[in-house]
Symmetry: C2
Subunit: 203 residues, 2 copies
């Protein structure tokens, strides 16, 4: 291996890069050679940004979103509606909802979905902390915003049961035809749901 | 932007990662979140491997392949045939030829191909140093092993002309049907060349 790459340093960088998801040794080599051709600063800032991010990013103690402080910017924002909590699978989903510009409540990041096949049980997710948050009485509505998959449905159902008789309204995202999608290519379960949950026509 | 990612450190890492070729902001975010989920050591070794590689890898003064020392392992290897020089476009091509296990000569890495459209002229490539190497009289054969593209052909022709009357044999890679390829799907120029350069049948 060492011989193959003419340099154990190159070999080392390729090995580390190829640990990343979706990056094989061939792509890793391409990336490493790209970095070798570019200015030294470029490689150094990439390396340092990765190390700094991993060392200093922490998680919000309230919603478990990534944060640089004990409490994230969204949870610390007094202008947001703290009585509405949108339950999402991961950090990426928070970014997706923030991009819509349609939501002014707060979040709760589970850190995954219940998936017995992948060995993920409820105890590995931030479900206990969600129940505690609701039990304080400050939350009026929980929006279950998980993926429309079997794992998402299972997790929704589990959370719903755990909430038990706590006085909180539980809602979920509307299911229906995606904006821009053609009827012809929409699956029948989605179409069925979109008929069932039809809304008044508005322009 | 800062707001969008909930952390300027995450934002910084995403920006740096998305500078890499073939990696957009979406993939960069996926990679960064992967690193956040994994052990801290993993991110630190990735970052350090990149920085160390870029800072310490240098180029062989003889063949311009990457190296950790003034002269690369191949050029310093006394068991290799130093009178045969394989001229390649880049470092990756050296790795490709080494993998064949069929070559015991040395290399000369041009660092690119002549490409007027991309603004790459002969003076930006290691062509002068190749001519100097041949002029020492120690090289008996030059193998032009550039890609079978217009840029490769142009560079081959330029080198051939520059070599002028220097007493060196100039060869090029055989052109023909790729091993494993079907005749039906081989282009007519390759087929024509493979007819013209047919070799004695051997088993």
């Amino acid at each position: 291996m060492d011989r193959e790459y003419a340099s154990s340093l190159l070999e080392g960088a390729v090995t580390e890069l190829s640990r990343l998801p979706g990056i094989g040794r061939k792509t890793a080599l391409r990336l490493a050679l790209h970095l070798l051709r570019r200015d030294e600063n470029e490689a150094v800032s990439l390396g340092e940004a990765i190390i700094k991010m991993r060392r200093e990013v922490t998680y919000c103690r309230c919603c478990h979103n990534i944060s640089e402080t004990d409490m994230c910017g969204i949870c610390a924002d007094g202008r947001r509606d703290h009585s509405t909590v949108c339950v999402v699978e991961n950090v990426k989903d928070v970014i997706c909802f923030e991009r819509t510009g349609q939501y002014d409540g707060v979040y709760h990041v589970l850190g995954g979905l219940i998936s017995p096949l992948d060995g993920v049980g409820p105890e590995q997710l931030e479900i206990d902390s969600l129940i505690e948050r609701v039990a304080t009485g400050e939350v009026r509505e929980i929006i279950l915003a998980l993926s429309a998959t079997m794992e998402g449905d299972t997790t929704n159902f589990y959370i719903f049961r755990r909430l038990g008789t706590l006085p909180v309204k539980v809602t979920q995202l509307a299911r229906g035809v995606s904006v821009g999608n053609e009827i012809e290519y929409t699956d029948e379960i989605t179409l069925g749901r979109s008929l069932l949950n039809r809304t008044d026509f508005a322009i």
